[in-house]
Amino acid sequence: MTDPTYIRNFSIVAHIDHGKTTLSDRILEITGALSAREMTEQVLDDNPIERERGITIKARSVTLNYRSEDGHTYLFNLIDTPGHVDFTYEVSRSLAACEGAVLVVDATQGVEAQTLANAYLAIHNDLTIVPCINKIDLPSAVPAMAREQIEEVIGIPAQHAPLTSGKVGTGVKDLLEHIVHDIPPPAGDPGAPLRALLFDSWFDVYRGVTCLVRVKDGSIRPGTKIRLMGTGVAAEVQEVGIYTPKQQVVSELSVGEVGYLIAGIKDLHATKVGDTVTEAERPCQEPLPGFQDVKPMVFASIFPTESDEYENLRDAMEKLRLNDASFTFEPESSTALGFGFRCGYLGLLHMEIVQERLEREFNLSLVTTAPSVPYRVKTTRGELLEISNPVKLPEPQYIDEIEEPYILATIITKDEFLGGLLALAEERRGKQVSLEYAGTQRAVLKYEFPLNEVVLDFYDKLKSISRGYASFDYQLIGYRPGDLVKLDILINGDAVDALAFIVHRAKSATKGRALVEKMKEMIPQQMFEVIIQAAIGSKILARSTVRALRKNVLAKCYGGDITRKKKLLEKQKEGKKRMKKVGRVDLPQEAFLAVLRVDD
């Protein structure tokens, strides 16, 4: 075992695009984990979709050797964290595996919403924060501004924060020395029963589930019979090891160490992030704090465009679920769209990623419905229902009360955009908690919002109002009652279940009007008139009409070239195939997401 005095466990946290991944790579290079030649850029992000979007979804850990200026060699465990608001819980568990966190702030941007949210998470987990001002190679860098904001907004001293450039390598050595000196070594009892934090897990078909763990007490080696205290799953450890970043088998993981374990577990859902690993026969007294069973907070339905693709869709989803424990789905049958699935996601980004992977990696053509949040409904008969699909909302006369999930949102913006953002917050039923200035021209807004006002297009709106400047982060704060109604969309008189959504009563008429107008633009003319209505129960709030197609004929065929005419018809038919027939009406895929495109 390594003497814990010479172990440093830390994460690097940052707002998106503040240079976290580049800085991590530079650390890998300097510690000799990878030679410059072996470096491909951004080695910690290995999923192409993550790379493309510049975000990191799965946590990874890497064990590095660093020879400090004090003459000792330190074992660094760098734990990478997911970089998006949807994965707050996973981030917090990764942080719980560390004693310290490097908080990267872009010297050209300053403190952003995710910087703040990550700093709070680190503080909440009792971590030592090492601030680091990055991208100082850029001409527009203003390190003094970043330093001032770290002190004012986050409230931690930053006068000695290293100034770094992950891109060119400046200051990275200095940062590593700060890690050695500022972050405390891990504490723990090597003789106590095993207590290890499971902070990431994934599945592959050859080895089953691999778990990343941080040993708090005791040790773990092949042959150890373990039990996961949260799920109760028992297994025998087959292999333990570390990533350097190459996978390397070791004989044991001991107090303060971070590494992987493989124990013949086949189901990813048995290894929940945040669970405590202990010995089956000599369990620890108390599990580690903070374990939660994360529940999806955004729901949307997915249907195959062609009904015979249903089985393929299910296979694809099952494959994805093997490696994404937070993605849930259950079969759903829609009158309008046939057989599909109601899917649960951690958040909007998570939803987009899953949908994109299904279409891209599995080559499926899908119709997805607008996202919704889970509501709690108390019926007049005293039942408590959790409703994650608007279709299942009981009729108004049977509802005693509806509660909806709320979030606490942090928005950081230049003050010139404040007016627009306050108006947006107002319109989204936001309740202001605080409004503070940090330095000059920079405002930190805290608002409580109903989650359903945020899942639709809040983030896009925020970005467009602030011309991309404002940053946003949120956490769930619980359920509150709301005056909510189900808005039905009727196509030629029939309510289309997949188009129903839940909205605040005060906004229902405006929303309904905007939506039917939007759908009118999206639905192509058909052989007959298409009437689109928005209604609450039997009360029609808005109506628009797509006129019947008057003309769809091809010019005369000459010289018997029937084949050409048929080809044109086939092409036209191909285009229609991408649409979904609801009753007799062909609806394009985007019509099911019209509610996302409505300009309020």
């Binding site: 052989m527 008057r550 769809n552 004929v553 010289g559 018809l569 036209q572 229609k576």
Partner: protein
């Protein structure tokens, strides 16, 4: 097997009109070799369909642009090798400018008994956009003369010319009927392959009818012709009873037709064949083997049944109910659904033992036909 018809493509033109999507050449350098090739092709394929032919159709290009003796020689080959009935309908597509008294007399002498004139419009401001050689006055003169000399005369009319209004279109159609044409073909201007018109539409979209306007124009033409006794027997063709184009009907009825020349299409009742679309390649291939077929599609079973109904529905009388009902259960559910919808909205109707498109249905016929491909 019903009697067969022959189509002969004559690709030469004095001018390449911007909107034309057919094989048309202004360079006549290949003309001699081309007509030799057409005659060789006739020799090689003489047994492909059963003679004697009861229709012959010279299309283009501009068949009237070449010397009448060339057409005469081709006709001679057809008569000698395949047989042409004495009562056969023999049509030549003509440009109004080519119909000097002499040319017309020569054509009549060859046995041509039906002339199809590419009038397009009787308004000079509209003809300019189409880059036609003729003006309205010469078109009127040509039509009158042909009416007098030949009797069986068709005029092509175009809907959707830049600047055309419902009024100018109706004037064109009325004048043609007054001049005595017995047949009118109307079709929509397609600008996709005419860059100058695409640009014009970008600059001055108001000069072009939108889809609904175009539909209204078609209805205007229909109303105008029907009230003057020309019956719409097929989607884009109107005729005085007895003057329907027997040759064109063969296409919709799936009767055998044999096409000679560049880009010509043939159908023997089962297989569709297309000749090369390049004049040079056509001449070379015929030189090598006597034929220039570049694609062949054999249709059997359901595909053939679907095509028969699709084509039949273009005709005023549609298809026999029995034929339609035999096909219907074999279609995919979504296609059946589409057709049922069409009946529900009275776009398709059953009448006197037949299934046919209604007036509204004609306008959206592609929506209905897409259930049949």
């Amino acid at each position: 097997m019903p009697p067969a018809g022959a189509y002969i493509h004559v690709p030469y033109c004095a001018h390449r009109c911007t909107y034309c999507s057919f094989v048309a050449l202004t360079d006549r350098g290949t003309e001699e070799a081309y007509f030799d090739a057409v005659e060789r092709e006739i020799v090689a394929r003489r047994d492909e369909v059963m003679g004697p032919l009861d229709t012959v159709y010279f299309g283009g290009g501009t068949p009237s642009f070449v010397a009448a003796r060339r057409l005469g020689s081709v006709l001679g080959h057809l008569r000698d090798l395949m047989g042409v009935e004495s009562s056969a309908e023999v049509t030549v597509e003509c440009n109004p400018d080519d119909l000097s008294g002499e040319k017309l007399a020569q054509l009549v002498d060859l046995g041509v008994n039906r002339i199809s004139i590419g009038v397009q419009s009787l308004h000079d401001s509209e003809l300019v956009w189409l880059e036609r050689r003729h003006d309205a006055a010469s078109a009127r003169r040509a039509v009158s003369e042909v009416v007098e000399r030949v009797g069986n005369v068709s005029a092509d009319v175009m809907i959707g010319i830049p600047g055309q209004s419902g009024r100018t279109l109706a004037e064109t159609v009325r004048s043609l009927v007054d001049l005595g044409v017995t047949h009118v073909s109307a079709y929509l201007l397609e600008i996709e392959k005419a860059p100058r018109l695409v640009k014009l539409k970008g600059d001055q979209p108001e000069l072009f009818p939108d889809d609904d306007d175009a539909a209204d124009r078609w209805l205007d033409v229909d109303g105008c012709l029907e009230s003057r006794g020309l019956v719409r027997y097929e989607f884009s063709n109107w005729a005085r009873p007895g003057f329907e184009s027997r040759h064109n009907l063969k296409y919709w009825l799936r009767w055998p037709t044999i096409g000679f020349g560049v880009s010509a299409h043939s159908f023997d009742g089962q297989t569709r064949r297309a000749n090369s679309g390049s004049t040079v390649e056509y001449i070379r291939k015929v030189g090598e083997s006597g034929v220039a077929v570049v694609s062949e599609t054999m249709l059997e079973g359901l595909a053939a049944e679907k095509e028969a109904v699709l084509l039949g529905l273009r005709l005023r009388d549609g298809v026999e109910e029995a034929q339609f009902d035999a096909l219907f259960p074999k279609l995919a559910p979504s296609d059946r659904d589409q057709l049922e919808t069409a009946f529900m909205y009275r776009l398709l109707e059953r009448a006197k033992g037949r299934v046919r498109l209604t007036g509204d249905g004609l306008l959206v016929s592609n929506e209905i036909f897409s259930a049949l491909v």
